[in-house]
Subunit: 342 residues, 2 copies
Amino acid sequence: MVGHMAFRYKSMKKLKIAQFGLGPIGIETLKLASRKPWVEVVGGIDIDPDKIGRDLGELTQEPDLRGVRIFRSVEELVDHARPEVILHTAVSKVKDAFPQLLPMVREGINVVSSCEELLFPQLREPELAMELDALCKKHGARIVGTGVNPGFVMDVVPVCMTGVCRDVRAIHVTRVVDATSRRGPLQKKIGSGWTPEEFERRFIAGTAGHAGLKESLALIAHCLGWNITDLIETGRAMVADHDIITPHVSVKTGQCCGIHQYAEASRDGTVCLTLDIKMYLNAANPHDACLVEADPPLNVLIKGGVAGDAATVASLVNAAPRLLKSEPGLRLMTDLPVPCWA
Amino acid sequence: MVGHMAFRYKSMKKLKIAQFGLGPIGIETLKLASRKPWVEVVGGIDIDPDKIGRDLGELTQEPDLRGVRIFRSVEELVDHARPEVILHTAVSKVKDAFPQLLPMVREGINVVSSCEELLFPQLREPELAMELDALCKKHGARIVGTGVNPGFVMDVVPVCMTGVCRDVRAIHVTRVVDATSRRGPLQKKIGSGWTPEEFERRFIAGTAGHAGLKESLALIAHCLGWNITDLIETGRAMVADHDIITPHVSVKTGQCCGIHQYAEASRDGTVCLTLDIKMYLNAANPHDACLVEADPPLNVLIKGGVAGDAATVASLVNAAPRLLKSEPGLRLMTDLPVPCWA
């Protein structure tokens, strides 16, 4: 009776995938992809001269990747192999991603990117977004930005919940992440060990903190068709009340041990969307929560929260088959079919 | 900066919708649809001779529906107006829905249905499902089955959560519904006031209980590509430990006051999917919960649960714009873009 429920990709030819960006997240993404029975990894791309030309199997210690090379550019890669999807883990800003994405799109290659601003690129870079969308359509390519946050817990999940609402008045999302178990670069990005003033100065300069909170908010507003105003974001240091030592950082009492960022937007003069994230060392009660003021109201709690790095990597790889089912163009996560393990 | 986030449907021409089935859920669905700025209701269809020919505005007390008629059949409706989508709330079984859907599909009309088995029609009616799918493709129509359960809390939400998982080992979903606040027909369907033996006899005969639990399970398995075996379902009476009186039913201590249904399936000899639903009068601690044994693990709780009737109605109406974005054919909820209020 249930024999038709066989593995979806069994009959598919393998999906040819390449990895752009071989930092910690890129390597984990590549490793996960290489273990999927429906993936064939055809190459890596990185601008680091120490990596170019090396063997991905040797770099990642992943036996399945032996004999797969790291190239210096998309142009060089496609001389050797043509991926259908590139997993792009390199930058946070659309304006930095743009020159990296152009050669991919021109080759008609689809892109799943961890670039935070690509979650909703229309927000900060409407002209680049329009240009990417037009190029995607011209060359039959698709781009989507995703991850765990932005890309899932503070945007896709709240949007998904509204699917059973007759009316929606407001959405409030909170996330508390214990950064102690996260990777070193993230522990540094959240200002661990700086003075609180130093963090706040760098946050305002845009060189520290969590990227993508405004994009999450804008994506929710877009999906709900809400014409929002007064979109603001604040960022403050979480201050350590005890000394903290991790394998990556050392923080003394009174120093910054993480971030507290908050974004809100209004509609018709009333605050309708609030997103609140705390990400700090030794955080108490990590969780994700989403309150949808609606008919019916929804009160969602993910106990313990969604763990960051593993989930980001999974989100990228899992999005690839769904992206291919969508129309060419610059896509949003909410345009794709319901998220699903692949 | 956020001016592009204007109401999505503002520039769309209105979507012409008709309602098939004018019972309690059908009327609520129609009322919600009629209040949407992007909907134009063009007619109702019902087989009840007392309703045929009447005015929907008079039947529903909804001013916007004045002058819109109730027809006896799709054929009669399309002589007067051509809907792009029919909201179908009439039956629970695919074999009963099939003859109702045929004339819709043949006219190229898309259908959002509350028919529980349509959530995953391949499970019980693979041949009818293939036939519907072929006819949809031939005539450019789309069909999807949805609701709150099946259609959201015990299937779509768990699937959605796996989108951030590197690996998934098992999923356990539980739902507790306080039936006290639900509509009369539902309070009767769950056996209120019968003896426990009577309920269990009727459950086995397929004439009482919650429809769609196996479909929810099969949809999850399908999405995960799991080749499941030993798909079983059990149904038992919840027995009242005190006398209960609602506007619809009266239950004495020792009588049936609701249902406890459970479905499970195995993979490689190990139980990997369990779905557990209790729906009874004066239920304690109503909630929805989903435990995804995975990397990372996910522990989701919807406090208070997702209220049944309002959410079912919303799910149907909200699915219509997303269905139109999908390819013609018999579609699954998980094929459509991420659920969203519309």
